[in-house]
């Protein structure tokens, strides 16, 4: 198993005051899609900018495929691509021209350059608008153009800083579909920042949650959800009355946290609903309690996030998001 990203005790203090990263440790396996979740200002962008060699950390170390991001930064830049949180294409030239300029900046050999660009455009579904000015693109199209740019050099790792911020659900889906198919084709490791829980849930292999510059949780989406240890089994009963000794029996099971009964609704809070259900069901049946309906609620990533990163607003990014959307659609260059 190859390690794509390794981070040890990373600290970043901006201008001697803001402690954006406070001792971050992290490991990402090669070939994984890795999601870094965190509320606004938790240090996601800062971490990504250090990993992409834009500036040095205050202390600690980080490496990409074994290459130290500080000492061997030039080599690191050869194997990574990066799509910043903010818009990163020129709006006063066409999509094709953007890719052409970037291809030249990246030093792609001139033979086959046009082919690589055409492929990138097709891969992102932009071939029909390639010759239009980027000014006329939608937010989703701009994001896909940026992805196309990042794919020109066939990176081993793709860094995406909030890739779908400010996009509507359809555009988000399209961006991810294209990304997933690119990842499959070239076996690229993907590291992305987000505060959309559903994206981390659906598309990532592993997730880390960062809060105020510290990693607070790490694991797959399922592991994280299980780690909450609070799943609810709800029984709708035919009869309103349940004998007290039945409730006592259920409460006495070691995997049951607590039991609530109101009218004909019996709620049993357990660590793992799937294994608990047969046992509880057995008790109810033996005691002659008849059940009309059963449902289970499992925690979502939102619950996980709220537990570990505090009750910070997740949905709206506030003014920053609005600014971002404005700059995505704005006329840009003056």
């Amino acid at each position: 198993m190859t390690i794509a990203i390794e981070v040890n005790g990373l600290v970043k203090v901006y201008s001697g005051k803001v402690r954006a990263l406070d001792g971050v440790n992290l490991k990402v396996k090669a070939g994984d899609v890795f999601a870094l979740l965190g509320p606004n200002g938790s240090g996601k962008t800062t971490l990504m900018r250090i990993l992409t060699t834009q500036f040095k950390p205050t202390s600690g170390e980080a490496s990409i495929f074994g290459l130290d991001v500080i000492r061997r930064d030039a080599e690191v830049r050869k194997v990574i691509s990066y799509v910043p949180q903010e818009m990163s294409v020129w709006t006063d030239i066409s999509g094709y021209e953007n890719l052409l300029i970037y291809a030249k900046i990246y030093g792609l050999p001139s033979t086959g350059r046009t082919k690589v660009i055409r492929e990138a455009l097709e891969g992102m579904g932009l071939d029909s608008v390639a010759d239009n000015l980027v000014k006329t693109y939608s937010g989703g199209m701009i994001r896909r153009l940026e992805m196309a740019c990042a794919m020109l050099i066939r990176p081993r790792i793709l860094f995406l800083d909030e890739p779908t911020l400010g996009l509507d659900p359809t555009a988000r889906k399209v961006v991810w579909e294209k990304l997933v198919s690119f990842k499959k084709e070239f076996d690229t490791t993907v590291f992305f920042n987000t505060h959309y829980m559903d994206e981390a849930d659906i598309y990532s292999d592993e997730i880390a949650i960062i809060d105020r510059g510290r990693m607070v949780k790490f694991g797959t989406a399922d592991e994280l959800k299980h780690s909450i240890k609070k799943e609810v089994i709800q029984f709708i009963l035919t009869n309103h009355i349940v004998a007290e000794n039945v409730l006592k029996m259920i409460r006495s099971m070691d995997f049951v946290s607590y039991v609530i009964i109101s009218n004909s609704e019996l709620n049993v809070v357990v660590k793992d609903a799937e294994t608990a259900l047969p046992v509880v069901m057995e008790i109810l049946r033996n005691e002659g309690v008849s059940v009309k309906k059963i449902s289970m609620t499992r925690p979502t990533l939102d619950d996980v996030f709220l537990k570990y990163a505090g009750a910070i607003s997740l949905q709206g990014g506030g003014i920053r998001e609005i600014k971002q959307i404005r700059s995505m659609s704005g006329k840009g260059y003056i």
């Binding site: 500036f55 050869k78 910043p84 903010e86 030239i93 900046i105 990246y106 840009g332």
Partner: protein, 247 residues
């Protein structure tokens, strides 16, 4: 590096209005101020018609405008993610910075190519010597590169566009007035004369005037030396301050 020049050219291809609007001010200087003042004949210009006398200064002032506002592009690119992405590209960072400055020089040259025909129409008498002309273009190019470096420095200090605009104006106009662009330095108060001798524009104007108007190129080498020193100093400072822009 050449990619950056290509970028500027492609931008110009799509939208040329900026070049034209930026040419309005220098053309007004020549057509209005220059023509009116040439009737006054109060300024000793060594026998050169006043309109011709100020043409090199006006040319340089307008190209410097272009290169100083180049820093604005950097401010804008920092607000967007372009600068960040360029930093992560597998190319040398300094090549990128220098490429951006050179690209602004290209824009400056386009400016010159618009103003010169207009100046000809108004009646400015240029020396038609291709070698002199190319040397003059090269000097303009060098000077605007130096000023582009200054603008990187300003950009690293100013975080917003509005402030940048203010500072840009506050630098260019004094440099223009405290130089030999509009009148010989000898006419200035002594204190200002000192400033004029520290002003790179003075040397650039002197060289370009010699090459395009008077044909007197005795000072050409010292002039070029002064400009090169200025460029090297500015590029050094700009490279240091560039890391500040990044964070």
């Amino acid at each position: 590096m050449f990619a950056m020049i290509e970028l500027e050219l492609r931008r110009l291809k799509h939208d040329r209005t900026e070049i034209y609007t930026r040419a309005i001010q220098p053309i007004l200087w020549l057509a209005v101020y220059g023509t009116v003042m040439s009737h006054v004949k109060a300024i000793p210009t060594d026998g050169i018609p006043y309109l011709d006398y100020i043409t090199p200064g006006v040319l340089l002032q307008s190209t410097i405008f272009v290169s100083v506002f180049y820093g604005l592009t950097i401010v804008w690119e920092r607000e967007t993610g372009i600068l960040k992405k360029l930093l992560v590209a597998p190319a040398s960072r300094y090549a990128t910075v220098i490429g951006r400055s050179v690209a602004s020089g290209v824009r400056a040259i386009f400016q010159v190519l618009i103003i010169i025909p207009v100046a000809l129409l108004i009646g400015v008498d240029f020396i038609f010597n291709p070698l002199y002309f190319l040397t003059a273009i090269l000097i303009i190019f060098l000077v605007s590169g130096g000023f582009a470096a200054i603008s990187i420095l300003i950009a690293s200090l100013m975080k917003t566009r509005e402030r940048f605009m203010g500072i840009g104006q506050a630098i260019i106009m004094p440099l223009f007035f405290v130089s030999n662009s509009l009148y010989p330095i000898k006419l200035m108060p002594t204190v200002l004369q000192y400033f004029a001798y520290f002003n790179p524009l003075t040397y650039a104007v002197d060289a370009v005037r010699g090459l395009l108007i008077s044909g007197d190129i005795r000072n050409l080498l010292p002039d070029i030396a002064a400009i090169v020193i200025f460029d090297v100093a500015m590029f050094a400072v700009a490279s240091i301050s560039f890391s500040k822009i990044i964070e």
